[in-house]
Symmetry: C2
């Protein structure tokens, strides 16, 4: 780690006081006591929409995301995204004085999110029993690989492991290749989204449901994916179906695949509904596909996906992407080119939607990253600033809000508590 990661925030630091935050969650107080992706990203979802998120990192060390690729000038660019919109403090939760300060923060918090191995917060004397006595309104979200209970609970859980465990890779990819893992942290980021959603369910129950109390929520990395794999369980239970890898086809949809254009672009098509299929056949000037008994309905097309794909592939192979796009536009056929990030930067729809925002950054002046999602028409979220330096808000929070004296602040720094 570069030593200047530890430097105090610059004078031009892009922070803003919670009173200025915008978005539907303005006024919600959240502590991000997590590390790496799943817990912190749940907090970023809330921060993107105006919650006051205080993120806790280990003094001198910081979150591991600060060292994750891609790196520019010793700074992790990924950190700048996942750490955005948060106020940042350092605190050693394994030390008694750190635990006291944490409890002081918990007194005012609506939500605490953590994602250490099950048992860690209990070992620190910060289990739900303790925290809920301090603040009965607290919602305590625990994220872990395998959840807080069950025989594998104590195993470390990484996203890759959870993805493999969910069943989804077993039917993703090509049959002659290994089960395919996604190229982004799917398990972590889906679990993060479930965590933010669930936290707000619990806040609703506390405030509108009349209980007045928060609760503990146990989120694993594999269960959200397992939840989303819609008919996997019932299909096996009722019909003995074990889904298999079949490339970009789907057993239940045809045509559904990616096709290669003459100029080397991949285009995704999903045209299983009869109307969509017929539009596609006419656009390709192949009306005989519609009357061919093999392709008469989706079920039959699934049986004859090989010859159907051969017809479509041959047509694509003879044309450049721009020609195909124009034909499909006229015929109202929906086809999706596989974009890469270069394409995305020049796409007019991405531009019109404002999906890429330029954000104040303490190191590089401005950086571009994805905007908040989704779009609220009444109280939109926003990206105020990127992830900042370690302990950027220590002084504001420990002295300004928790009321430490300058002397205490300095001695806690010296002891490695903050």
């Amino acid at each position: 780690m570069s030593p200047d990661l530890l430097a105090p925030p610059s004078q031009t630091s892009a922070g803003a006081a919670p009173a200025d935050f915008k978005g539907p969650l303005r006024g919600l107080k959240v502590i991000d006591a997590g590390t790496m992706i799943a817990g912190p990203l749940a907090a970023t979802h809330l921060a993107d929409f105006g919650a006051d998120v205080i993120k806790i990192e280990l003094p001198n060390v910081g979150d591991s995301m600060r060292h994750w690729a891609p790196i520019k000038d010793d700074r992790s660019l990924w950190w700048k995204v996942i750490g955005r919109n948060k106020r940042l403090i350092t605190l050693t939760l394994s030390k008694p004085r750190g635990q006291e300060l944490f409890k002081q923060l918990v007194r005012e918090a609506d939500i605490v999110i953590e994602n250490y191995r099950p048992g860690t917060f209990e070992r620190w004397g910060l289990g739900y029993d303790v925290l809920s006595r301090i603040n009965p309104r607290l919602v305590f979200v625990r994220v872990s690989g395998f959840g807080q209970t069950g025989p594998y609970a104590k195993r470390g859980g990484y996203g890759t492991i959870a993805e493999a465990f969910s069943g989804i890779p077993s039917f993703t990819g090509f049959p002659d290749r290994p089960p395919t893992l996604p190229g982004f942290p799917m398990a972590d980021s889906v679990a993060a989204t479930f965590s933010a959603m669930a936290a707000m369910f619990a806040v609703y129950n506390r405030d509108q449901g009349g209980s007045g109390r928060g609760q503990e929520i146990d989120v694993s990395l594999y269960e959200p994916l397992f939840r989303l794999a819609e008919a996997q369980v019932i299909g096996f239970d009722q019909l003995g179906i074990v889904k298999e890898r079949q490339g970009n086809r789907l057993a239940e949809d045809s045509p559904r695949n990616t096709y290669l254009t003459k100029d080397g672009r991949w285009v995704g098509i999903s045209a299983s509904s009869q109307k969509t299929f017929e539009r596609l056949a006419l656009a390709m000037e192949k009306p005989k596909l519609i009357t061919d008994p093999r392709f008469r309905d989706n079920a039959s097309r699934c049986t004859y996906a090989d010859p159907l794909d051969a017809e479509i592939s041959a047509w694509f192979a003879e044309r450049d992407f721009s020609e195909i796009a124009a034909i499909f536009e006229r015929a109202d056929v929906v086809a999706g080119p596989v974009l890469d990030i270069r394409d995305i930067f020049s796409d007019p729809h991405y531009a019109a939607r404002g999906n890429i925002v330029s954000v104040p950054d303490d190191d590089f002046g401005e950086v571009r990253m994805q905007n908040v999602a989704p779009r609220f028409l009444g109280t939109p979220g926003e990206v105020r600033h990127s992830g900042r330096a370690l302990g950027a808000d220590n002084r504001e929070i420990f002295i300004g809000e928790l009321g430490l004296s300058e002397a205490e602040f300095s001695s806690l720094e010296a002891e490695g508590v903050i």
Copy 2:
């Protein structure tokens, strides 16, 4: 479609009154005016946690999911999952009398979710301007392929198209194969989760944020995925990185891959942190990997991923999965076998977590499907029943709650309004 899909619900129908619903969202009133996956699944997330979800389908036709594979005895099994926990009515929103009844429902609703092509609800006279005059507290969630604005807004949007458009498939899969699409409806189900999350953000803003007003939320299918692809934008913006397909490796982690055991099982490993890597090397009895300068840290291991993967693959190829699992268990190495649904049904952790539940079903008595996620310790969600017959709750809702007379009810049925 089988004609008995249209039969009235059986006497043993597994419905329950909203007063008996359990979960944190008890009391929340939701109208699912969507179709297929993204909108309806957002509503199912809310229904799983106790919201009273009234789902609207077209009379005599029903949601397209009722005809989606897998099918048993003319019944879609997928429908039974996505339609679970909802009260079901039929209503033709394109007819004036249908629009009146819809407005009557909207009066009491907290949230309406729809996912038709942008402009459809406006054409029916049911845009946000109209609905918010009827009920200013309403949160109106609009899900669409490309969002409500921008040059592609009017295009139909399917999950496949949105996935391709998000950029993720361009770096998922093997470099010598097409960009790989996921084997489950990733774009739809991630957008559904964002929708449920966002709806609760807006409810919080209405109730606790002091506005007292709901708002319109514009969710596209591609933006949630684009949001989750963490460093894609900033990596290109700051370093010109265009992520590429590299199978089950990740550019920034090594070792991270799937490895084949002697008995043909695929096992995922992600051991990029130094401690994890060293535990793996020792468990394989290959301490020289730790001292090999090519593998001294994660960055260097990424450069030399080929020889490192060769070492690990060779070790896996000589051993059965059970032997490897025992070695890793002793050495606290986390590795994830790629499970399929057969494995999942016999896995002790899935059993201990209660991830598969047996659910009352009007057609088949009981069916098994995935349980709700995540686990709430105070007010858990539950699966009360599977997706039921078309119009199962017409009588209860139109006569019992909206106060139609028997005569009106019959004539609306005859006119195809309900």
